[in-house]
């Protein structure tokens, strides 16, 4: 399992390749990549991502450990960036490896749902004229309910 909270960009190809090479006894790998989206018709200039050093790593490790507990996973990777990102830049990725694809897909969705609203990151969108904190959505909280047990 690898958790990385970093300011620097990551290479999707290198990370995916290394993950696939190291995962043993598996039949399926799922990767998900989050990209800075310009939801405001070309006006977004920068997305600033703030986080809580210390708690972030702890929360991501807890989320990844829970995924490993729930699904029979060969390996888990979570990379999440912070700092100033431009539209089109990759913010984060998760990868899961399992013997079968259902577990790999489900675990990846679980990781995404949890890290969206349980990992201490906050996004701020900056345009030429204004800056706005991205608000959490009710759907994000609802998405967690389907994993309740």
């Amino acid at each position: 399992m690898r958790i990385s909270v970093q300011e620097a960009p990551f290479d999707l190809g290198v990370e995916s390749e290394a993950f696939a090479r190291n995962a043993e006894q598996i039949g399926a790998i799922v990767t998900f990549t989050g990209v800075v989206r310009d939801s405001d018709a070309g006006r977004l200039q920068v997305m600033e991502i703030e986080h809580y050093p210390g708690m972030t790593e702890k929360a991501l490790a807890a989320i990844a450990n829970e995924a490993v507990e729930r699904w029979d996973l060969g390996d888990v990777l979570v990379i999440h960036r912070f700092g100033r990102l431009a539209p089109g830049e990759r913010i984060m990725m998760v990868a899961t490896a399992a013997r079968h694809r259902v577990a790999a897909f489900e675990a990846a969705e679980f990781l995404m749902d949890y890290l969206k609203s349980r990992a201490p990151f906050w996004k701020k969108e900056l345009s030429a004229t204004q800056s706005t904190w991205v608000a959490a959505k009710d759907e994000d909280e609802d998405a967690l309910n389907r994993w309740a047990r």
Partner: protein, 81 residues
């Protein structure tokens, strides 16, 4: 006790962190104490439903006790991913 603020809570209060001496027994007591200080704290804590709290880097609740806690953090709902 160290108090940390993130995102718009940090911006409203104008500080990322501060150290306070307090005898507050719960998070709620601490919030009441901070709100009584200055308008900027009142503005940050006006709507608790828009805030989350972590105690020693674990998500917690406003009615949680503060005994033994070293670090309290206040922030809006998280928006990772």
């Amino acid at each position: 006790m160290d108090i940390l603020y993130f995102a718009w809570v940090r911006e409203r209060i104008g500080l990322p962190r501060e150290t306070v001496k307090t005898s507050a027994e719960t998070v709620m007591d601490l919030v009441t104490e901070l709100r009584g200080r200055e308008q900027r704290y009142e503005a940050a804590f006006a709507d608790l439903s828009a805030l989350r709290v972590a105690l020693d880097q674990d998500l917690s609740d406003f009615d949680a006790p503060l005994a033994g806690v070293r670090e309290v953090a206040f922030f809006p709902p998280m928006t990772g991913g």
